[in-house]
Symmetry: C2
Subunit: 223 residues, 2 copies
């Protein structure tokens, strides 16, 4: 269960004060497949970053699996994320001096219950490229490796920021099917920010954001 | 006019030989709006990079505005690109120590016939953020700045690699309208790699790629 209560996030840059999140409150149940939609700059990545403990809040509380992450120190947050959470970043964040295989292995080594690397390589269609380095991959290939690394960890909650942004329709669909099966078979909670409207059809809950606020929550109740 | 003749691009990585482009031939007329579609890894970015002189070919010839760019030295290529070409990269490539305004100004300063910065800031909806640095922007905002910088230069040929990948549908449409107007009003040649199928409707020519080859060219003849 993720509880978000009255969260505000304000960035100060010189004279400009950006209210990236304005009094956001929400609950996400275990095993839910949640999609976050909204225009560019509406606060989606910021929402994901504070809920997963990657960034601090200006005010408000966030409780994940009964732990108050807004009260944690940096060290406790790092430990918490390592134990429980998986991330697919909007900018991939691959390690440039590790091959495709080794990047995915990093994810696997962080898990008590990992998923086999060769199986994931096949699922993302990159078995042939496994010894390449990130700079030798296409944009979409880098994105797929970043997805496989997060999946290898087999986390209890997976946060994804635009995981299909660089992918064509077919490859994007394949990625979504993998995420859907993870959610159904392993009850992984999935929170996914996306512009891909096809994803909302498979979601339990669709959160619509605009100018730092949640202005609508659609409950699809797939479960 | 861009003439591409029998172009091959082979990457060698250890034992793996990747044929990123296999005997590609094509002509692009002045003022054409060309869209390149294809699955992840099919060679789209590679195609753009060799045609614009950012990368070398393994064999074949590329002639842009009567200049044989496959015969040019690095210095000549840099000069050629600076004079004639504009780029919107798949990974934005903004300068991290320059603000939004300054990043766009870099584009403007490279032109003999630039477009006004404030006008572009308004077109991309980022007037308020003009003094922010790239790390303070959302993914889609960074992409929009990278677009504005290329437009400020007002080049004769504009190469775009997935310019709307990080944008929601509405913002993406706004960007496409700006590109369309540039093409119609200033006769700018536009070559755009994208997964956004909506873009093909506004194209004069749609190039379909698969495994390093052009397997179909649709001629929409908007002109
Ligand atoms: N420097 C490199 N060394 C080795 N292989 C490379 C290199 N750059 C690209 N490739 C390979 O060339 C092929 C085509 O890559 P390219 O980036 O052109 O694809 P793309 O169509 O743009 O894909 P995407 O839609 O995912 O961006 C891929 O298989 C990629 O792994
Ligand atoms: N470090 C920062 N300093 C200042 N402003 C910031 C910072 N990070 C984000 N912002 C601002 O907060 C707002 C929300 O950003 P966020 O990245 O959450 O948007 P987003 O919904 O993910 O957008 P996109 O769809 O373009 O990725 C934007 O206006 C952005 O400029
Ligand atoms: Mg974002
Ligand atoms: Mg590409």
């Amino acid at each position: 269960m993720i509880k978000i209560k009255n969260v505000r996030k304000i960035y100060q840059t010189g004279v400009v004060e950006t209210h990236a999140l304005r009094d956001v409150s929400l609950e996400i149940k275990d095993g839910e497949f949640v999609v976050v939609l909204g225009p560019s700059g509406s606060g989606k990545s910021t929402f994901l970053n504070v809920v997963s403990g990657l960034d601090s809040v200006t005010s408000g509380h966030i409780i994940v699996d009964d732990e108050v992450i807004t009260d944690m120190s940096d060290k406790e947050l790092t430990n918490f994320r390592r134990r429980k959470l998986g991330f697919i970043f909007q900018s991939y964040n691959l390690l440039s001096n590790l091959t495709v295989y080794e990047n995915i292995e990093v994810g696997k080594n962080l898990s008590h219950n990992p998923i086999e690397i060769d199986e994931l390589l096949e699922k993302i269609g990159m078995t042939i490229e496994k010894d390449k380095y990130p700079y030798q991959l296409s944009g979409g290939q880098q994105q797929r490796v970043s997805i496989a690394r997060a999946l290898a960890k087999n986390p209890s909650i997976l946060f994804c920021d635009e995981p299909t942004g660089a992918l064509d329709e077919t490859t994007g669909k394949q990625v979504l099917e993998v995420l859907q099966r993870l959610n159904k078979e392993l009850n992984t909670t999935i929170v996914i920010v996306t512009h891909n409207i096809a994803i909302k059809d498979i979601a339990d809950k669709v959160i619509h954001m605009k100018s730092g606020e949640i202005y609508e929550i659609e409950d699809n109740q797939q479960k």
